[in-house]
């Protein structure tokens, strides 16, 4: 079973990397969008899924990455070289807001992160050097979609692989302990604040790099696009619908989300209805399957194997 899973992951990665050889630009654009969604969902899952700290402020990190890239590119720095700096700024910012916010537990933490996300958006739309609410454009120059595509796909593969590694590491076990019972974790020597800050910084940095890549490909950003609260909401919805705290969950969630979004965006009247549909899915998941699509899959495969076992057992009895 584990080998089957590993082969499926590898096949998906190879398909995504080789896609430019046989797919047309329109489909590649959709795949680029999917890779972007996978990064956001899987990175959020490091803190929200593994450590159970549900943040609704991730557009702040996305926007920080996007703005860092555009503002530095405008000053003549190679746009891909700006990515690590965006990641660093986002990581530092995540620690600055994490220090007070992680003193709050459960829904109080979540509410605080909504405030942070909105505050950052308002700042970006009022401050002069970000171009205000009308946004800013990347400098005219080289635009290479293939390069943009590969960067996004490679980052997506890296984030999923990193999540799988974290989940098995001592760091991942500490996050799981914090999620299940933070006081019991502390009582066994787990420095919960430190691990929460670490997970927050790591996921913020990854989301910021994705934000930078987004700016490079879209060429134009505005507070209303990269700091949008609906974006923060989508980042949370994807892993929850797919299966929170799992490796495959954020990928499935991103797949459903980006497909829905692309299909509905092409119908102007339904432009924002993807959030409505997603809200409905969220309610269904919370009511019936807290582990999302991955949990549903596990339940179905357990049912199936039980049915097969009882059938073969019956056949054996009949034969005997």
């Amino acid at each position: 079973m584990r080998i089957v899973k590993a082969v499926l992951w590898a096949a998906t990665a190879i398909f995504a990397l080789a896609a430019p050889l046989f797919l047309e630009r329109g489909t590649l654009n959709d795949l680029w969008n999917l890779a972007f969604a996978v990064i956001l969902a899987a990175a959020w899952n490091l803190l929200g899924g593994f450590a159970g700290q549900v943040s609704l402020g991730y557009s702040a990190f996305l926007g920080i990455g996007a703005y860092t890239t555009v503002l530095l590119s405008l000053r003549g720095i190679d746009s891909f070289l700006t990515l690590p700096l965006g990641a660093l700024i986002a990581a530092v910012f995540s620690i600055v807001i994490g220090l007070p916010a992680f003193r709050l537990r459960g829904p109080y933490f979540t509410i605080a992160t909504i405030g942070v996300g909105e505050a950052v958006r308002v700042c970006a739309s009022t401050v002069e050097f970000t171009g205000g609410s009308s946004g800013i454009r990347m400098p005219a120059g080289s635009f290479d979609f293939n390069k943009n595509y590969f960067s996004m796909v490679v980052l997506a593969i890296f984030v999923v692989a990193l999540a799988a590694w974290v989940k098995r590491s001592a760091f991942g076990h500490a996050l799981a302990a914090i999620k299940q019972d933070i006081e019991a974790a502390e009582a066994l020597g787990v420095n919960s604040t430190r691990f929460k800050l670490l997970a927050h910084a790591l996921s913020a940095a990854l989301v910021a790099i994705a934000g930078g890549l987004y700016a490079i490909n879209f060429q134009y950003i505005a507070p209303g696009s990269v700091f949008d609260f609906r974006l923060s909401l989508s980042i949370v919805l994807m892993p929850i619908v797919g299966g929170v705290g799992t490796i495959a969950g954020p990928v499935f969630g991103a797949l459903i989300f980006s497909t829905l979004q692309i299909k509905l965006l092409s119908i102007p009247a339904l432009r924002d209805s993807y959030l409505f549909i997603y809200g409905g899915l969220l309610i269904l998941v919370m009511l019936y399957e807290p582990k999302g699509l991955v949990g549903l899959g596990r339940r179905l495969s357990a049912l199936l194997s039980r049915a097969v076992a009882s059938k073969t057992g019956k056949e054996a009895r009949d034969a005997g």
Binding site: A170, H173, A174, A176, A177, Q180, D181, E183, A184, A185, E186, A187, L188, G189, V190, N191, S192
Partner: protein
């Protein structure tokens, strides 16, 4: 402060708003002691443990562990220095296996063990606490007796100098209590100093060499089990049974 004390508490106060949970407690625990803490419900026993390990900050007073002041330190830092506690109401990580639960203590406690070194420590602790046969079971599927042992196993995995056991015999049947008492003796013989809260006064008297009696946050007696039990009879005569007996002892 006696020279051989591993843990000394002086003038420990803890207030919750208007409630005085601990009202100036003093005591010393010598290395190798099995130090019993008894008293009725609400006497402040669990609050005392919480202050010792740092999950609560005392309002005032001193806690000296191996020559260093530790009061007000965060819980995880105290654990790394060598004091750990178990919880009266068990708090397992239910979605983890028994092995994974214990590994948290081995990884993040005083031992900082990783890899095969941590696995060896975990196996050893599971062996000592009689949980080896449940190693790969999910913690959520254990019986209460096993969960109490898991609390002890996780705490031992942090490699403590002092372990604070909060009612590890509560809710157990007589044969499980026998098992718990021999486990406590084995922990003592391995060189770990023990503080234990217990409602079963006779169980405490059976394993401990010193006993502290709390009532309404105050120390009302301290000494060897024989003298304390005799004192308690005297106190009961003056203050009534409530001051010295507790429900588990009925």
């Amino acid at each position: 402060m006696p020279a051989d004390a591993i843990l000394s508490v002086r003038g420990l106060f803890k207030r919750f708003g208007g409630l005085q949970a601990l009202a100036g407690i003093d005591f010393d625990v010598a290395e190798g002691d099995v130090f019993g803490v008894i008293g009725p419900n609400g006497a402040g026993k669990t609050t005392l443990f919480s202050c010792l390990v740092g999950s609560l900050a005392p309002t005032s007073g001193e806690i000296v562990f191996r020559g260093r002041r530790i009061e007000g330190m965060p819980n995880h830092a105290v654990v790394k220095r060598g004091i750990v506690r178990t919880h009266q109401i068990v708090r397992p990580f239910r979605e983890m296996t028994v092995t994974e639960n214990v590994a948290i203590g081995a990884h993040f406690g005083g031992g900082h063990r990783r890899g095969s070194d941590a696995s060896r420590r975990v196996r050893d602790v599971l062996e000592r606490t009689g949980l080896a046969h449940r190693a790969s079971a999910l913690a959520g599927t254990l019986t209460l007796g096993e969960l109490k042992r898991l609390e002890i196993a996780r705490a031992l995995a942090t490699e403590p100098k002092v372990i604070c056991l909060d009612e590890v015999m509560g809710g157990l049947n007589p044969s499980e209590i026998q098992g718990a008492m021999s486990l406590i003796r084995a922990i003592r013989d391995s060189g770990v100093t023990i503080l234990m809260i217990e409602h079963h006064v006779h169980a405490v008297a059976g394993v401990s060499n010193r006993i502290l009696v709390l009532n309404f946050g105050e120390k009302i007696a301290e000494g060897t089990p024989q003298t304390v039990l005799k004192d308690m009879a005297v106190i009961a005569a003056y203050l009534g049974d409530d001051a010295t007996t507790s429900r588990g002892d009925e």
